[in-house]
């Protein structure tokens, strides 16, 4: 595996560390950090800054019984939320979004498949399966698009993206990613809005497939 060369931008990292990134993007960032110790350390450095601010915050007196309430809760057993481990090429956060099950791919034509993990007014996030040598249909999109490679590689106007690399595309980028020949390329992609494809055929399918 080659080293990761495309990382999380600084503003995205701060917003993520502060917990202020919409869930679809947060899933992509958390997955990249699960694969990249450099960004794990960067996140921890920002949390350190957050901690310094917390320590320096002027205190507000707490109610007299708060400490007793906390101390009396120490022995209460609590069922923690399940923790999902990495499986195959899917890191823990993706497995959590899949609820521990393998993806249920839906065909988009030309061998391209997807599974939508989440879609709401806040945006959408999906897994994409692109056979080697196959282009993702030419598309532009509203707002920020994050694409993280989990397997294989793709290239577009802005460079080559291999396993662990994150492409950050703004709304003005009109791009046509092409999967490298050979291995199937699997990506995790988040957008703030449905993708718009720049030709009439895929556009026709858009309501059907929710892409």
């Amino acid at each position: 595996m080659t080293a990761i060369s495309h990382h999380i931008s600084e503003p995205l990292m701060v917003a993520y560390a502060a917990g202020n990134l919409a869930e679809p993007y947060a899933l992509v960032v958390a997955t990249h950090i699960s694969m990249c110790d450099e960004c794990r350390a960067r996140m921890a450095a920002h949390e350190c800054a957050g901690g310094v601010l917390l320590e320096g915050t002027g205190g507000q007196a707490v109610s007299g019984d708060l400490k007793d309430r906390v101390l009396s809760g120490l022995d209460t057993e609590v069922k923690e939320a399940p923790v999902y481990a990495r499986s195959g090429v899917f890191p823990g956060p993706v497995m959590a979004a899949l609820k521990g099950k393998p993806p249920q791919w839906k065909s988009l034509g030309f061998g391209v498949r997807q599974q939508i993990l989440q879609s709401s007014g806040k945006g959408s996030v999906r897994l994409l399966y692109i056979p080697g040598g196959q282009a993702v249909p030419d598309h532009s999109h509203d707002g920020l698009e994050l694409t993280l490679v989990l397997q294989g590689a793709f290239s577009d106007e802005s460079g080559r993206f291999g396993v662990g690399d994150l492409e950050i595309a703004d709304d003005d980028v009109d791009h046509a990613p092409m999967a490298e020949h050979g291995e199937v390329c699997i990506c995790l992609a988040a957008t703030s809005a449905p993708l718009r494809f720049n030709s009439w055929m895929p556009r026709l399918f858009q309501p059907l497939f929710r892409i």
Binding site: A18, C48, G92
Partner: protein, 216 residues
């Protein structure tokens, strides 16, 4: 290549029931070598190693008012802020085993728990977090790494105190979660490079030890 026609192997799904049994086994340094640690680090490590309730009480006395002030700054009323403080402090107790002083300060670890809790409560959504690095292992405590991380945090604290008021306000807003990524400037004006390198060393130490344990 991953064969996607085959079902993936079942992912490990653990539902941990935690109580007073959850403690972390460090191969610890002598207590005299911990004298250089900050109070917060020593209290936290006592909670971690011995489920020490006195030390937990000291953590509460130090952090609860600060947490309440921190949460109220985002416009949360007093009573709701105290509910959040209660949940955060209980999480500190329950998840104590996950704290790693080679990679984090107690304050940064608690900051992150507090932000998670606020998002749960205010936005009613789960915050997506990266994979935890494994917590099961017996690891070696490295006093020099812990002290070095604390010293670099002091440098960061001084840098933060030296920011111009306008800049400091932007930094505070960013870490309080009040700015979107498009409102955050690429440069915060904080010297985070050295602290990142130090945390990276802590991560490498952990990765190395985990590898040794796997090969043992």
């Amino acid at each position: 290549m991953l064969n996607l026609e085959q079902p993936l192997r079942e992912t490990r799904q653990t539902t941990a029931v935690v109580g007073s049994a959850a403690c972390r086994k460090w191969d610890r340094v002598e207590e005299k070598d911990q004298l250089d640690y900050s109070d917060q680090t020593r209290w936290m490590m006592a909670v971690q190693a011995k489920r020490d309730r006195v030390a937990f009480g000291q953590l509460f006395d130090f952090y609860a008012p600060r947490l309440k002030g921190f949460v109220m700054r985002t416009g949360v009323p007093s009573a709701q802020a105290e509910d959040i403080v209660q949940e955060v402090m209980l999480t500190v107790w329950r998840k104590a085993a996950q704290f790693d002083p080679h990679r984090a300060q107690v304050s940064s670890w608690i900051y992150q728990i507090a932000r998670n809790r606020q998002i749960d409560v205010l936005r009613r959504e789960n915050r997506v977090m990266p994979e935890e690095l494994t917590q099961e292992a017996d690891l070696t405590e490295d006093a020099s790494q812990i002290v070095a991380l604390e010293q670099e945090t002091e440098t960061l604290r001084a840098a933060l105190a030296g920011l111009k008021p306008g800049q400091r306000e932007m930094v505070e807003k960013a870490y309080l979660g009040e700015l979107s990524h498009s409102e955050i400037q690429a440069e915060t004006g904080l010297p985070l490079g050295t602290i990142k390198s130090r945390i990276r060393l802590g991560l490498e130490k952990l990765r190395h030890e985990l590898k040794e344990l796997r090969n043992a």
